[in-house]
């Protein structure tokens, strides 16, 4: 898949060269997000706080990955690797979280044996 394209590319050297203005712009945006995420902790939005914090983190991570790590200009497969890593992580965390949440009540209240079940 990948090597088939390598000869067709109009090659100005290897890899994409990111302009300084773009690098600085991304950095400035990252700073804005950092201030935002700290500032938002002073406002109580209930459960929304954590989701905003995570949303900002995802946006920051996206900026770093797309521009600092060149994913935007890279082979899409590299992006797929990153996305699938997060996807499998989500499966892992999601199911474990669901299960532990489900059985948490069993830890608080010891199971009771119903005599009827024994007697049949």
């Amino acid at each position: 898949m990948s090597h088939a394209h390598t000869h067709d590319d109009h090659d100005h050297g290897i890899g994409h060269i990111t302009p300084v203005s773009l690098l600085l712009g991304v950095f400035a945006l990252l700073m804005v997000f950092t201030v935002l995420t700290v500032a938002v902790t002073y406002v109580d939005l209930g459960p929304a706080n954590i989701w905003i914090a995570l949303g900002v983190a995802v946006a920051k991570a996206g900026l770093v990955a797309l521009y600092f790590m060149h994913l935007r200009y890279d082979s899409p497969f590299n992006g797929l690797i990153l996305v699938s890593a997060f996807l499998f992580l989500a499966i892992f965390i999601g199911i474990s979280l669901m299960d532990t949440g489900e059985y948490q009540q069993n830890i608080h209240t010891p199971a009771t044996v119903r005599p009827a079940a024994v007697g049949g």
Partner: protein, 572 residues
């Protein structure tokens, strides 16, 4: 599609390097091995070490079966000391064979050996990383050897908390060993993914790849995505033992079931690390020894990927009786059944390949047939166990033991041995003794079924696993099983004898003894260090018609004109 190079140099000497040197004899001295970056030499070093681990882990199996036999034959309950010894024996049997043998066996030995050859490439994408992965294996093995002489291990290979966080045996050392072995596995997987992506020759698209490579690719994806979770699990376990962080230990407020989630998120996909490459071998053997194109190429290819992905969604079926919530149990049970679909697709396609094929019962094919038998039994009992209601009864009985040995030993080991026989002439340039190999095959097949089929019965009658002691009603099952294990062991020793014997006394192997068309058969046996002296002709891997049997060399010769014709036919 296919690229035909230099039709003049046809025949068996097409890949011979000048002066007759090959990758084994072109340089000498221990350092030329320890510092090699040649994938074939690394494969051989893996072979020696991993087979050594197999011998060790197998010895523990014989030891524990013997202890059970002695208990079955005697009247008195066994002593506490002997019980502790038994706990150690089954733990080390499992841990050594899982981490040091089954997981690396096919990818690290046969994968390293033939993956670049099948791509017509000179080496894997990162040769030095490949060597590093071997050193990681050795590093992990050293830790396990240290465990053997220093306290042993009695947690079971699963390291379940809270016992593993409190046992006085060398669990920390063993954990560290498994952690390092994990890196070996990750590096191999990473290397294979990059190699398959970047080093396929012109003319070989994804769907002209041999199915073994599809299987290795799917395996590598699991190795890369699941093994890091094992790494962190083991680190947390070490932190639990050394610092007492309390994440898994209920006495400290932790959650032991969480450990099982962590552990099985790796270890269930790891089951497919073990069996997927074995299935890849079977696909190669089926086509070659039925002398026809593999049936349902893309179904087999995609089912490998499907198994790899579904494998990540079923880990909870190991936890049906561990306190996992009822809802999660139901979800995992349901998804577990779905794994049967791609597995069955493979089996049906292999059977369809055999249908109307001219089946050649050479030793590798006998192993492939054994695989289909044993995998079907192992797989179907897996479906039984996926059913919640049955699993509650059968969990932690010999039924489960029999089930996973049918998959891990019956399937994976037979495919591995079959693959070793198949590529042995390529690896060493020597033919093994066919009659001896057939006798050994019979001993293994018969011994295996004698050992493990009886365990289904013992388990269904309630014999719990991992028990050193049992009531007399179970004695007969244990006696039969132990006798079977001796037969199995004798068969395995005969295999080993045959291989070693062939190195010295074996007939010189032709370039292509089987008439297969994957690229490794287009170079000499054994191959030169650079793998190919000239570019191998890339064509459909399962179109075998261009290879003609030559009785004088007891091997196949490539007919370039026929190959060109076949290539044209596949174009139009």
């Amino acid at each position: 599609m296919s690229v035909i190079h230099d039709p003049v140099k046809a025949g068996i000497h097409g890949g011979q390097a000048p002066g007759g040197t090959n990758y084994i004899n072109n340089s000498k001295g221990i350092l030329s091995w320890l510092l090699t970056v040649d994938h074939k030499r690394i494969g051989l070093m893996y072979m020696v070490c991993v087979l050594g681990a197999f011998l060790l882990g197998g010895s523990f199996a014989i030891m524990l079966r013997t202890m059970l036999f002695i208990r079955a034959a005697s009247e008195t309950p066994i002593s506490e000391g002997a019980q502790n010894m038994y706990n150690q024996a089954f733990t080390l049997h499992g841990a050594i064979l899982v981490f040091m043998f089954i997981i690396p066996a096919v990818p690290a030995i046969l994968g390293n050996m033939v993956l670049p050859l099948m791509l017509g490439a000179k080496d894997v994408a990162f040769p030095r990383l490949n060597l590093l992965s071997w050193y990681c294996w050795v590093g992990g093995a050293i830790f396990f050897m240290f465990v053997l002489i220093n306290g042993g291990l009695d947690t079971g290979w699963t390291f379940y908390t809270p016992y593993s966080s409190s046992t006085t045996t060398a669990a920390t050392t063993a954990t560290m060993g498994a952690f390092i072995l994990g890196f070996s596995s990750i590096l191999t997987g990473l290397n294979f993914i990059a190699t398959i992506h970047m080093l396929r020759p012109p003319g070989m698209g994804w769907f002209q790849m041999p199915l073994f490579l599809w299987a290795l690719y799917a395996t590598s994806v699991i190795q890369v995505l699941a093994t890091p979770v094992l790494a962190i699990t083991l680190l947390l376990l070490m932190a639990e033992r050394i610092l007492h962080v309390g994440i898994f230990d209920p006495a400290l407020g932790g959650d032991p079931v969480l450990f099982q989630h962590f552990f099985w998120f790796y270890s269930h996909p790891a089951v497919y690390i073990m069996v997927l490459p074995a299935m890849g071998i079977i696909s190669e053997l089926m086509s070659t020894f039925c002398r026809r194109h593999i049936f349902g190429y893309s179904f087999i290819a995609f089912s490998s990927v499907a198994i790899a992905l579904l494998g990540f969604l079923v880990w909870g079926h190991h936890m049906f009786t561990s306190g996992q919530s009822a809802m999660t149990n139901a979800v995992f049970s349901l998804i577990t059944f779905s794994v049967a679909i791609p597995s069955a697709i493979k089996v049906f396609n292999w059977l369809a390949t055999m249908y109307k094929g001219s089946i050649w019962l050479a030793t590798p094919m006998l192993y492939a047939l054994a695989f289909i038998w044993l995998f079907t039994i192992g797989g179907l009992t897996g479906v039984f166990l996926g059913a919640l209601s049955l699993d509650i009864m059968a969990h932690d009985t010999y039924f489960v033991v029999a089930h996973f040995h049918y998959v891990m030993v019956g399937s994976m080991l037979t495919a591995f041995i079959g693959g070793m026989y198949y590529w042995w002439p390529k690896m060493f340039g020597k033919m093994y003794s066919e009659p001896v190999a057939k006798v050994a095959w019979f001993l293994i097949f018969f011994g295996f079924n004698l050992t493990f089929f009886i365990q289904f019965i013992a388990g269904s009658k309630g014999m719990p696993r991992r028990y050193a002691d049992f009531v007399p009603e179970y004695a007969i099952y244990h006696e039969i099983s132990t006798i079977g294990s001796y037969v199995l062991a004798s068969g395995l020793f005969l295999v080993l004898f045959n291989w070693i014997h062939s190195l010295k006394y074996g007939r010189k192997a032709p370039q292509n003894p089987w008439g297969a068309n994957t690229l490794e058969w287009h170079t000499s046996s054994p191959p030169p260090t650079e793998n190919f002296v000239e570019d191998p002709p890339v064509s459909e891997p399962y179109v075998l018609g261009a290879w003609e049997y030559d009785a004088s060399i007891e091997g196949f010769v490539h007919n370039k004109e026929k190959a060109a014709k076949l290539a044209q036919m596949s174009h139009h």
